[in-house]
């Protein structure tokens, strides 16, 4: 603890087992990237589910995706892309010690996330209202009447609800984490030397955006 090498880099946020801030920052970044790796493979199982059925039974996807409103999906894409931009700007601001700008950008990000969830809520409630549900609870008779050629349509909606549900869960986690970052920013915990938590939050949020970038054409636009 009292080793002499530490004194020249003393920063109140430097943990005891690191030599210097840069090492701490690099550790956090590598750790976050490894976490993102696990996230990609976690969603990967669902993408595998998707591609197998898409290739085994393309009719199912052509027919069932008509039930999704691509305008709402597109709106959500734009909202998420914009929030990705704002979170990148938040990191840029804190790198230049502009705490207020950083707080504003973080707040806009959270607002965008809420807009995303509200749109998602309307989409989900429409599905639930029509009985277009995943799995054995599927009972959308209208769909069956209009698309007699589509086999097992519940599987498409299983995929839709699993993928967007897991993605939505990540959006909620992101809101909680970014709100915490916003709180800490307002309490002046970050500066241009110590902003690793904001950068990690940013990486996470970009990943959430990345996954949606794929989900949008795969689910809505077939």
């Amino acid at each position: 603890m009292s080793a002499t090498t530490h004194d020249s880099h003393g920063h109140p946020r430097l943990a005891h087992h690191f030599f210097e801030m840069e090492q701490q920052h690099e550790c956090a970044k590598l750790g976050m990237w490894l976490f993102l790796l696990t996230e990609i493979l976690f969603f990967g199982g669902l993408f595998c589910f998707y591609f197998i059925w898409r290739i085994m039974d393309p009719e199912l996807f052509v027919g069932a995706s008509e039930m999704l409103n691509w305008k709402l999906g597109g709106l959500n894409t734009i909202v998420l892309i914009f929030s990705s931009f704002t979170v990148a700007m938040a990191i840029r601001s804190i790198q230049q010690n502009k705490r207020n700008a950083c707080a504003i950008y973080l707040a806009i990000t959270i607002a965008c996330a809420f807009v995303f969830l509200v749109v998602k809520y309307f989409e989900y409630s429409a599905k639930i209202g029509h009985g277009t549900l995943p799995g054995t609870s599927f009972h959308d008779l209208h769909f069956l009447a209009e698309h007699p050629e589509v086999k097992n349509p519940h599987i498409f909606f299983s995929i839709y609800f699993c993928m967007t549900g897991l993605h939505g869960f990540h959006v909620i986690c992101g809101i909680v984490y970014i709100a915490w970052l916003l709180y800490l920013t307002l309490k002046n915990r970050f500066d241009s030397e110590y902003y690793a938590p904001i950068e990690m939050g940013g990486l996470y949020w970009h990943l959430v955006d990345l996954i949606w970038i794929y989900l949008f054409p795969l689910l809505y636009l077939i």
């Binding site: 801030m21 840069e22 090492q23 970044k29 590598l30 990237w33 790796l37 990609i40 493979l41 990967g44 199982g45 993408f47 595998c48 591609f51 197998i52 898409r54 290739i55 085994m56 039974d57 691509w70 597109g74 894409t77 734009i78 892309i81 914009f82 990705s84 931009f85 979170v87 990148a88 840029r92 790198q95 209202g129 029509h130 009985g131 054995t136 609870s137 599927f138 009972h139 008779l141 209208h142 069956l144 009447a145 209009e146 007699p148 086999k151 097992n152 241009s192 030397e193 940013g202 990486l203 970009h206 955006d209 990345l210 970038i213 794929y214 949008f216 054409p217 795969l218 636009l221 077939i222």
Partner: protein, 165 residues
Amino acid sequence: MSSSNSTHDSHQPHITPMWVYFGVLGALLILTVVTVAVAQVDLGPLNLPVAMAVATVKAGLVALIFMHLVFDHKFYIYLLLASLVFLAVFVIFCLFDLTRRHEIRHEVAAPIHAEAEWYKELRIQAAGLDHGEDHGDSHGDLHGAKTNAHSEKHAPVQTPAAPQH
């Protein structure tokens, strides 16, 4: 420690110029429009690859610029690519099995092509719906279908269990 210093030796982090971020935002929005526009055109078997290609360009922009992969140590790009390689192995091997499973022995574990048993009853109900209210427009009979379906909701859920064991 030794590997991290090679790209930039100072402690100053890379600050991306403002115009780069605005440029990427603009590009992403334009590409979103392209995604939608491309989907309106039927390219046959190319539909999926083209949609994925556009999405990948967008994802690449986000990863390279917003996530700073371009400015960081190359190791992070390798990490990201490694995860995609393993994911590809997973998906491709599974697909390889499912698409070619019954080529030698047709009777063994063929991929499921049949519709689940419990659709039979739903199909009958749907057919009845079609005949009974043929003249109404689709929004008009929506309400009736919903209530109708609700009362029948539990029946189809039970059916799959029975033939299973």
